[in-house]
Symmetry: C2
Subunit: 196 residues, 2 copies
Amino acid sequence: MARLKTEDRRKNIIDEAVKIIHKQGFEALTIRELAYRVNVTEPAIYRHFENKEDIILSIMDRMNEFDEELNKHIESVKGKERKIAELINFHFLFFEKNPEITSIIFSEDIFRNGKLLPDKLLSILTNRRGIICKVLEDAKRSREYQGLSSCNLATIILGFIRLVVLRWRLSGFAYSLVESGNSEAKTLLKLIYNYR
Amino acid sequence: MARLKTEDRRKNIIDEAVKIIHKQGFEALTIRELAYRVNVTEPAIYRHFENKEDIILSIMDRMNEFDEELNKHIESVKGKERKIAELINFHFLFFEKNPEITSIIFSEDIFRNGKLLPDKLLSILTNRRGIICKVLEDAKRSREYQGLSSCNLATIILGFIRLVVLRWRLSGFAYSLVESGNSEAKTLLKLIYNYR
DNA sequence: TTTAAGTTAGTAAACACTAACTTTCAGAAT
DNA sequence: ATTCTGAAAGTTAGTGTTTACTAACTTAAA
């Protein structure tokens, strides 16, 4: 098959690894299967990655892209209250567009290999909560959610998003996440906006 | 070692299987390891279970115990509004007491083996949401959450619980789930009770 | 004394990974 | 412009280990 430079091949391998986890689960991610999908032999994989854990860690690095996108998007939204709604909407939009990512984010077992990975997920969650918390703190100033803890509220919002996405995943992505998610989000937003 | 009747040995095996998943992850659940923990040889396992999937399915059956306990507990609580708070509290209490259960409920990869298991988790989640939804419907009648969808609210509550428990798991069960969970729950309850 | 619960000793297949060889290709020297 | 060369990307053929599972034998107990 076509010969690729290591940078391109690395990207190629990670892409296929994510697809495997998405379609067949983390257990199915073997070097054999990966090599087959990439159309090279097994040792060729080791030309570009030290070992399997190295591959998994590289997958995690790709996850950071979302947080960057999220941050950018939120900053561009005008209106502090609208940001909360847009934050939820953006999650659903992104996951509907990149369903493979949910397979990574929701795969607990990925994060149990080694000791680095649980910390990685925890830092993703903490970081995400930080972003939401900041948006809420901003909104607080313009309206009166004074009695509420912004970070606790962030937990509620993030937990809501995760569960809605999990149900969508378990359904086999059978319906529109954006549609059904935002419909359910109305109740949450009502709850927040109507807090006195 | 001591010779057990098949019923007792089955329970024995399931107990150890849950412990393995809890301590070492789903990947570590091998017949070898299981037999070692149970203090029998590998073929003895197959005396009591047809194959590995049979073991996993039996683990799932045990999960139903929680829903029964939850239902009983909620019915015993007086005061329709208090039931909501107690529902959240009971989740935290149960999981703190049975941390192994969280490893099962949160292990996506368990549910990817075969086709029966994803449906199983979906039915657990749907059932749980039904329980919460019912409590909320009751509370609705005595107070005015009229503008809110009870089932959407149930999603918010369940999502909140799951995320709080997930963070606790990722921390390595380093703190009291009941304490920190209920503290965070105050914000959610405020949000619900103060809805006008 | 029958039968259920256990054993020993194995199977074939899959796993992550490696040593050693070959091919491709870009850039330098002719 | 063509050839040479060295390194990078790929191969074949294997390693030892672990996996789920089984056939055939033994032991204990009701």
